[in-house]
């Protein structure tokens, strides 16, 4: 019900404008790195301009100027993002409006617009990052913006009071937030097609490998996935997390072959007892493949197995995905499709002549395939190759240059060169990419596998034994497999910061932080419809469908609200004993039509009663005096007893 008094609102005070400016800045600042630099500069300029005007008490700039700047900025956003829809353009436009609205905020409803824009910008931060620090920042931002909203109602409110008020409101809202978070029926997004830019910025392995691909990935400390083993974990050197298989060699680039679904498992566990049970939480990487230890016997939901034993999801992984697998390290294979084997022998014509010649010589010598593989590994070892994150650039003869000239390379050089060598020797071979190793966090016993653990190795086919994993990198840098990247790299190689071996206490802190982060990811960010269902089942809800969830939601929120209302609406503490006796007197007199007026003190009231009821004059005067003595003087038990006796006897 808006009355006309609301419509004719007074102009904003300078204190309110200050609050609005603070809200604009705290809501926009976290987005500074996400928007184009010119926009960040524009916003900073607008905020500074407003701050300057405010400090000098100068009037706001003319409206036509702001309209021009706004139109110009929107046009610039349009040119920059080529659309006005989608996430990047939306965030950019919100920043434009927030910055320019500051220079146009005159009345209360402009202030409301800024507050609501602030909440939208707060949400926009989450597109890029939803970590614990971002959540903490969000709380601070919401606190400031809510205090700003309160300042719009109470222009005279002191900053500390407004912040305290906003903090109280947020704290009292927290239980409701928790209930809603747990019980609000989760919907599997997205509701509509997401714009193309939704998953830009996700890193991970790709479906091709050129020299430098994995080496670049190894610089990133981003987490690829986390693994929690139920039972024993395999030794670190056997932790090969198998990902994309690259069997096609186009010039210097290995690419994934065509993917065929395999409905039936082509391998059997040799020893059923030797199995690893684990739950893997995969970060979104916008690609379909799933990672697993070799070789999983079961499939995650909505996933399938390819003919080259990859696990693939039916859709690209765009949210953190959790699945539980059982892998068998020892398996028996059946036969392999001849076409697959033929593809695993193909070499591009005219490339790497020296490597091809060397491999062909072993085939010509009539060595058995296993001997050819052993000869190849020996050759790599003899070449005294160096494992480095900074390999020199190579020309199109990648294997030749690496093996015979520069002799410095990263795992992808080793794997690529070895596969070329084996194919030339007539042994079907292919490159497998994925991750190797990981770091165990002793705090929550979870293995963290980062992009820096990205690795490439080879697989060769032996008739009767199937595909065998060969890791040529181990010939030069066994520490890479046994230990970690930091140990394997030669001294002087630049290391990603996280990989440096720090002090023990630092590592302990780091482990703890990882564990908290993992819990955060599992329980807050990864709280999807499935996890919600699991939790509610565990809490004893028999059928967690949306109907019962809604019922629970309504019930629990109701209870929370009633409890809050009881706390908030509780009257002041019960009257003390003297007061209760006095109120009894007042009640009796009120029945006689002598209601005490709110501004009447006990003595004045007594005088009025004495005038109206002369018969009771002495009694009421004595009672009022006794009451005043008890209430405003020192307490005494005898006095209280006397007052009570008098009150009980008082029947006007």
């Amino acid at each position: 019900m808006a009355t006309k008094h609301e419509r004719t609102a007074p102009p904003l005070t300078s204190a309110q404008s200050g609050w609005l400016l603070a809200s604009g800045i705290v809501a926009t600042l976290p987005l500074a790195s996400q928007v184009p630099p010119w926009l960040a500069a524009l916003a900073a300029g607008a905020f500074l301009w407003r701050a300057w005007l405010l400090s000098r008490g100068l009037p706001l700039p003319p409206r036509w100027l702001l309209i021009l700047v706004t139109l110009g900025s929107v046009a610039a956003v349009l040119i920059h993002t080529r659309t006005l829809f989608g996430q990047a353009a939306g965030v950019a436009l919100l920043v434009v409006f927030m910055a320019l609205k500051q220079l146009e905020a005159r009345a209360n409803r402009d202030g409301l617009a800024i507050v609501l824009l602030g909440y939208f910008l707060t949400l926009a931060q989450f597109f890029a990052n939803q970590s614990i620090p971002v959540a903490a920042t969000m709380l601070g931002t919401v606190l400031i913006i809510t205090a700003t909203l309160a300042s719009l109602v109470d222009p005279a409110g002191r900053p500390r009071e407004l912040v305290k008020l906003a903090g109280t409101l947020l704290m009292q809202a927290a239980p409701l937030m928790l209930i809603l978070f747990l019980l609000f029926p989760r919907v599997e997004g997205p509701l509509w097609g997401l714009p193309r830019d939704a998953y830009s910025g996700l890193t991970g392995l790709s479906d091709s490998m050129a020299p430098g691909t994995i080496q670049n990935l190894a610089q990133s400390d981003a987490i690829a996935f986390r693994v929690k083993f139920a039972g024993a974990a395999p030794p670190k050197r056997d932790m090969y997390w198998r990902g994309p298989v690259l069997s096609r060699l186009d010039g210097r680039i290995f690419r994934a072959g065509e993917v065929r679904r395999l409905d039936e498992s082509p391998y059997r566990a040799r020893q059923a007892s030797l199995a690893y049970h684990y739950t893997l939480t995969l970060e979104a990487h916008n690609r379909p493949w799933l990672f697993a230890l070799e070789l999983p016997e079961t499939l995650p939901p909505d996933a399938f197995r390819t003919h080259d034993f990859q696990l693939q999801a039916k859709r690209p992984v765009r949210e953190r995905l959790r699945y539980t697998l059982v892998s068998h390290p020892l398996v028996d294979f059946g036969a392999e499709d001849p076409a697959v084997l033929a593809a695993a022998l193909t070499l591009p014509a005219g490339l790497n002549p020296r490597t091809v010649e060397l491999g062909a010589s072993w085939a010509a010598a009539g060595l058995a395939p296993a001997e050819r593989v052993a000869r190849g590994l020996d050759f790599l070892r003899d070449q005294r190759l160096t494992y480095t994150l900074r390999p020199p650039l190579t020309d199109e003869h990648v294997a030749d240059t690496f093996l015979f000239e520069t002799k410095r390379g990263f795992c992808e050089h080793f794997a690529a060169a070895f596969v070329v060598l084996m194919r030339a020797a007539g042994v079907p071979a292919r490159v497998v990419t994925g991750y190797q190793g990981g770091e165990r966090n002793p705090v929550d016993d979870t293995w963290v596998i980062r992009q820096a653990d990205a690795h490439a190795w080879a697989e060769v086919w032996f008739d009767g034994r199937g595909w065998q994993r060969i890791d040529p990198t181990a010939t030069a840098a066994p520490a890479r497999i046994e230990e970690d990247l930091a140990t394997a790299l030669p001294a002087g190689d630049p290391l990603p910061f996280f990989a440096r071996s720090g002090f023990d206490w630092l590592r302990a802190v780091r482990y703890r932080w990882w564990a908290i982060n993992n819990a955060w990811n599992q329980w807050v960010l990864g709280f999807d419809p499935q996890r919600q269902r699991d939790l509610l089942l565990r809490l004893g809800m028999s059928t967690p469908d949306w109907r019962s969830m809604t019922a629970w939601l309504a019930g629990l929120s109701g209870v929370a609200l009633i409890m809050l209302a009881l706390v908030l609406l509780k009257r002041r503490p019960h009257p003390d004993k003297a007061q209760r006796a006095w109120l009894t007197v007042c009640r009796r007199l009120a029945k006689r039509g002598l209601t005490r007026r709110p501004w009447e003190g006990p003595l004045d009231y007594a005088e009025r009663v004495a005038r109206e009821l002369p018969a009771a004059a002495d009694d009421i005067r004595a009672i009022a005096q006794a009451y005043c003595a008890l209430r405003y003087g020192p307490t005494s038990h005898e006095g209280l007893a006397a007052l009570r006796r008098r009150v009980n006897a008082f029947r006007p």
């Binding site: 409803r109 949400l123 989450f126 939803q130 109602v153 109470d154 409701l176 919907v187 609406l569 007026r597």
Partner: protein
């Protein structure tokens, strides 16, 4: 048409909401059942924004987005309780308003009492169609607020229904209550501007002033009271005693001042009732101002000659209620 219907519905609602028939017994307690809550326009915009934010969180699968939306929704709900608490439990009374003349604002002194141990912030009080008066109520204290209402007609002006509302703390919801404590304000007729002096008034005033020049009529001093003519103040004595001393009024022996009688019947018969009352009001005021003794004769009523604020009020009251008294 539509606004007429809305107005009628509004009045029906208020009549139902007040339950007790006006005027209500004082003090009026704004109990929990008398306080109404609805979202403001800002509150509706806030709710719409939350829905848009929620859709965004669902679409982009932002867990923290859900958390933010739920937190803000919680704030919205908690605000309802706070706004409600800010209003409920206040006791409201009103004292009689000081008389005013037609054309001035009657000021109804409302007395608000806050029995709780916490302050009530940003309360607004208003009479229908009037601007709001904003007040804060400190804990366990009473505060007086003056509600102005233009006095358009002479006679008793009954205080209309009072609306008391608040949007504190966040402006998202408005809580309001109606109260209709009994209070009225006497409205004197508007004194006529340029009017002929009453018969013999001018002459007497001159004679009066002449006699004042001598000091044989001076009868002594008494403590000055508001309403005593200013030109009777003993300024010389006041100057001697300094600003702390109370003012003294010179008393003159009344025998020398001839009494005036303002007679309704003396006025020309062509004048209508209101004009007559206006002219009589002007004469009464002028005579009181001049420190003269005066009386008033109305059809069926006579007030004998004397002077002073009580007498002035009696005369003006008689004029104000002329024709009303049953």
């Amino acid at each position: 048409m539509l606004s007429g219907l809305r107005l009628a519905l509004r009045e029906r609602f208020i009549a139902w909401a007040l339950r007790a028939h006006p005027p209500e017994a004082q003090p009026v307690m704004l109990g929990q059942r008398r306080v109404y809550v609805l979202p403001t326009r800002a509150g509706l915009l806030y709710a719409i924004s939350l829905i848009v934010l929620l859709i965004g969180a669902i679409n982009y699968n932002l867990s923290l987005g859900y958390a933010l939306v739920f937190l803000l929704a919680g704030v919205g709900v908690v605000t309802i309780l706070h706004t409600f608490r800010n209003l409920a439990g206040i006791a409201l009374g009103v004292a009689e308003a000081a008389p005013v003349f037609v054309g001035c604002d009657a000021c109804f002194p409302l007395l608000l009492h806050n029995p709780d141990a916490r302050a009530r912030r940003r309360l607004r009080l208003f009479l229908p169609g009037q601007a709001a008066v904003a007040i804060d109520l400190p804990p366990q204290e009473s505060t007086r607020a003056l509600l102005p209402l233009p006095a358009r007609r002479r006679g008793w002006l009954t205080m209309p229904r009072v609306t008391i509302d608040t949007v504190w703390p966040l402006g998202l919801v408005r809580c309001w209550a109606y109260a209709w404590p009994a209070a009225r304000c006497l409205v004197y007729p508007r004194p006529a501007r340029a009017v002929p002096k009453p018969p013999s008034f001018a002459a007497m005033q001159e004679g009066r002033l002449a006699s004042e020049a001598g000091d044989e009529d001076f009868a002594g001093l008494k403590r000055h009271r508001p309403g005593d003519p200013l030109h009777h103040v003993a300024w010389k004595i006041a100057a001697r005693l300094g600003p702390e001393a109370s003012l003294q009024t010179k008393q003159f022996s009344g025998t020398a001042s001839p009494a005036l009688m303002f007679d309704w019947a003396q006025l020309p018969g062509s004048l209508d009732v209101e004009t007559r009352l206006s002219i009589l009001a002007r004469w009464v005021l002028d005579a009181e101002e001049a420190g003269l003794s005066y009386g008033l004769r109305l059809p069926g009523r006579e007030i004998s000659q004397t002077q002073g604020p009580v007498h002035l009020h009696a005369c003006l009251k008689a004029l104000a209620l002329y024709g009303d008294e049953a």
